[in-house]
Amino acid sequence: MRRLLLILLIIAPLAAHATPPAAAPSRIVSLKPSITDVVVALGASEKLVGVTKYCDGPEGAAIAGDYTQPYAEKIVALAPDVVLGSEENSSKRSIEQLQRMGMRIELFPFTTVTDTLTSIREIGRLLGRSGAGDALARKTERALVQLKARWKDSPRVKTVVVWGLRPLVVAGPGSYIDELLDFIGAENAVRGTKIKYPHIGLEELIAMDPDAIVDLSMGSEASTVFSEVEKPSGKKSGGGPWEDVNSIGAVSDGRVISLDASMFRAGPGLPGGLATLGEMLHR
């Protein structure tokens, strides 16, 4: 037993040395739109051989998965050097399955702004573009800091962010979007629940009396035409149950904003999307 340990102790460092640092991958599968955005922003889009159904390009990349489910066979056929995913998206089982097939899988979290910035750097490192990764992370961070400064002295806009209409699901404290609101001088009107995406009733919405309602219930499926289109007051705003309830400030002021959720995707595009929402909220 002791001899075995000894051998292990000697061999382990050798073995670690034996694997050379992996060369920069040239065939990449991305299992998350955020990751695809980062890889594209780092100028490595030609290396993306597979992306998800919900990624924006690049052209020529095959569809290798949807939100939660990587298409294992497709991925094997694409013969990537590395598969980039995230724990929050992909089901553990499918990741393990890919690993058993001998795939190299790297997971990057994108659930908070800090995570996002770290993940941008690490993806840069993995692509052999550490400099570009660091620069992109710094640029993203700087843009977010500037946003915060832009709205520092404005009155806070009490906002409800709606993810689904039937059931009425909103972003609660601790959710990804909750953190983002702080950057644009807004605060989440949904409080006091440990559930990140609680299902509320119209009653609770009336009681919260938000200054603004941001309706993301079209998900990332809203067409680009639909995104950034603000519904002026008086018009039907896509069938939210709040439509006729004028006691809600957001409704009587016409500050019900329907947006494409992908505008707030974690990654290099985030500051741009947030800036747009900030201008709408403080209008």
């Binding site: 939100y67 939660t68 993810w163 689904g164 209409l165 039937r166 059931p167 009425l168 699901v169 006091g192 629940t193 440990k194 559930i195 609680p198 299902h199 509320i200 009733g201 119209l202 009653e203 609770e204 009336i206 009681a207 009396d209 219930s217 079209m218 998900g219 990332s220 499926e221 896509g238 069938g239 149950p241 006729d244 309830v245 004028n246 006691s247 809600i248």
Partner: protein, 317 residues
């Protein structure tokens, strides 16, 4: 007895309207622009009324189907109409239709399936209970396969909507929708009450009922169509809320006996009251806790209904 149950239903409605996560007093509600009034008018009253109508539809249709099929396991969802309605809803969700049109699609699904089930189950000149039951069950299975097919190809947001449709959920509806549901449910309910005396004869068996002067085929069609329309309206507005339609008629039978002239109206009234209470629970149980969220009402109906029912059954046997 029905007067007593009507009073219970009124009490349930009052409770449902006055009970919520926010405290609302009637004096606050006097302010026409106030929050309290908005909560009552837009949130609680339509929802409590919808709960009552859906509960009434499911429980009385459940009782009628149990008589029609002479099967104690029958519930309002057994004859395939609910599957057709759910499929209509799911297709509506899949095509991203606004809610009003999703409900229309659901109701169209219910009517189409009702007609086709009726036609298919009677092709060999006779339409007995078994043929109707089997057709309904198989039609449901077929619809649910299609629902799962649609579910596999839609987005995550849509899949979530489909999940809530399948477990049943009373969401806020405008009074217009409530009025439409009311038209179908009330006309179905009163038709079933009117037919309830003949349901007693039907439970003796087809031959006995015929010898007593009942046109069994016509009666069966009348029960099937009026109950199905109610179920279609219920599913179109609030999805597949389980257990109410199975457990309430049995509870009524255990409490008041098996005479359908009492069973059908009593089931409708008790089902309405029960669903209003259950929905008040679904809305508020967790709302003022650290885990503030609503529960789907189907969770409460089965969690409360199952033990209650077992208690009744034990007391009786």
């Amino acid at each position: 007895m029905n007067a007593l149950l009507s009073a219970l239903l009124l009490a349930a409605l009052a409770f449902g309207i006055l009970h919520g996560s926010e405290s609302v007093t009637l004096s606050e509600a006097a302010d026409p622009d106030g929050r309290a009034r908005a909560i009552l008018l837009f949130a609680r009253i339509p929802r409590a009324l919808l709960a009552a109508l859906v509960g009434m539809a499911l429980a009385s249709a459940g009782g009628a189907f149990q008589a029609l099929l002479r099967n104690p396991l029958a519930d309002p969802f057994i004859l395939g109409v609910s599957g057709g309605a759910a499929l209509g809803s799911v297709l509506g969700i899949g095509f991203s239709l606004p809610f009003e049109l999703v409900s229309v699609a659901a109701f169209a699904g219910a009517v189409l399936s009702m007609l086709s089930i009726y036609a298919v189950s009677g092709t060999r000149g006779r339409r007995d209970a078994t043929a109707l039951l089997l057709t309904g069950v198989i039609f449901n299975a077929f619809c649910f396969a299609l629902i799962l097919f649609v579910n596999a190809v839609v987005t995550m947001e849509q899949a979530y909507q489909i999940l809530f449709l399948l477990i049943g959920n009373l969401e806020v509806t405008d009074m217009g929708t409530v009025a439409i549901v009311a038209a179908f449910v009330l006309s179905g309910f009163f038709t079933l009450c009117f037919l309830s005396g003949r349901m007693n004869l039907l439970s003796l068996g087809d031959d006995e009922a015929t010898s007593l002067g009942v046109d069994v085929g016509k009666l069966r069609a009348a029960i099937f169509f009026s109950a199905s329309l109610m179920v279609g309206a219920a599913v179109a507005s609030s999805g597949l809320i389980g257990f109410v339609g199975l457990f309430i008629p049995h509870a009524v039978r255990l409490l008041f006996g098996a005479d359908h002239r009492l069973l059908i109206p009593a089931s409708g009234l008790l089902g309405a009251a029960f669903l209003v209470f259950a929905d008040a629970g679904a809305r508020t149980l967790l709302m003022n806790t650290g885990y503030a969220t609503q529960l789907p009402v189907g969770v409460i109906t089965a969690l409360v209904g199952a033990p209650l029912f077992m208690l009744l059954l034990r007391r009786r046997t």
